[in-house]
Amino acid sequence: MAQYVVKQGDCILSIASSFGFFWETIWNDPQNASLKQLRKDPNVLLTGDVVYIRDKQIKQESKPTDGRASFVRKGTPAQLRLQLLDRNHQPRKNLSYNLVVDGALRSGTSDGNGWIVEPMPPNAQKAELTVVDQGVPEKYSMGLGTVDPITESSGVEQRLKNLGHSTTSGVGPALKAFQKKYGLPESGNPDDATRAKLKSIHGC
């Protein structure tokens, strides 16, 4: 059993992949029960979290001498699921895009609900998205696996930024604007209701 300390950009999917496990194997390991209880989402960890990595188990297969043995490694598919929203948090439909994930280009059009869903390697670190709206390109640089838990102030700020709120004057004013938009008490503080709404609109 090894302990792995989470770095920026890690998630259970990427950690499991790098150690040669399915993500469920790691996430559902009883040794990680407290982490699972704390973070709830296997793809949203915090730098410094500790993940227990079980030892590899040797699997033996009996085959006849000189026989041919085939082994198929099961993949660990990962996706990047994005929803393009306008400033009123309504879907931005049918926008053409180019998405470069760790150097690999994919092109397409957001669907009728603003979705972009593309496969990617579980360890991909960076994505560059260019969306064209009314002929005007918008470029977004994304760190993959970098969303912090909503319980953290950094996670609140990241989601506010992703949702178009300026934090130039601090997180408080951005939170107030978000709370105002959704009819929440305008405290400027990340109370439970605000965190829940942020997570819901942001998607994770």
Binding site: W23, Q79, Q83, V136, Y140, L144, P173, K176
Partner: protein, 353 residues
Amino acid sequence: MGDPAQPDQGNFTASRQSSGDPSFSALTPKYEERLIILAQGKTFQNEQIGDWAIPSYLSQRLSNLVVIDDRNMTYADDVQHVNFTIQRVTTKSDFVKWLQTDGAHVVYCGHARLGQGPCFGDSADPGEEWGSHAPDALTTGILPSGFPYIGLPLDEIADEHQYTVSPVSGDDDKPAASDCHPHARQLYNNMTKFSVSDLAPKIQASSDAMTALLSNAGPNDTFWGYDATGESGKWERHVLCSCNWQNTGNPMDMGAVQISCKAYICIACSTFIHFYPVVRKLKGWTKDGDNHYAYWTTNATASAAMTAFWLYRILSYPQRNDYQPWEASLEYAKQMANRDYAGSVAKYPSSLI
């Protein structure tokens, strides 16, 4: 409108998903960030301007205005695609700091002090904060920004506001007309030398008090001056004062300020006459493409009302405006603020130009 050439939206965060995981990361474009500084001068601070106080005037009209506190607010305009940060300041040093800040939209609301310059301070009482010799001159008093020589009414100096001036001695040559404020220039041929005894009967203050305010004048001193109808509309005796700001060594005058803000809106009485020739010509701060805009007032104006109209119109410009040149929205604000003003403030028929 041209195509808005948007820069990179910047850095975002996203999570990875396994197959079948319904979670996602939302992406929303950012608006352009713009900064507006409202510099409220002496007796034009919020507690002194009633209905025109900011942010209350704006929050009654803009539902998206987020009031952080009574000095800071933000407003994301969904039509312009601009996120405005508005900051209210009340000291000379803050005003100067923002005048020297690239990209800032600086609005001065206050007194012109008969052309001497913007003036700051918390108190409405008479005293040195009304002049350029305030004890705490870094934060209060006048920021000298006018013509080098200005004729100041005696009762304004000695009775109404009671501040020290630097009168031009009768022992010195009469200053060149071109260095004088237009009001003094008009009366240049009437300029004469006044003795202290010529001045004393014109004011209520004691002779001793007056001579102290004339930079500790002696009883036999004379000063250049003239009699004329002043800004108050009364026939008054004026004493010509040195208000120079060039090469003075004073860190708080127009000579020391390196203006670099993107727009300077000077809303006080008759700022087009008082300051436009100084800032634009003498100081040489000229418009440079989509930069260094300046707006001024004609005539005496109700500064707080005009300022409220200006801010509201800037924030509610009805077209997409992100990453666009500012001229169209500034001109719109000028026209609409003038219209608002003409429809509501009859006492001071002024306009922005």
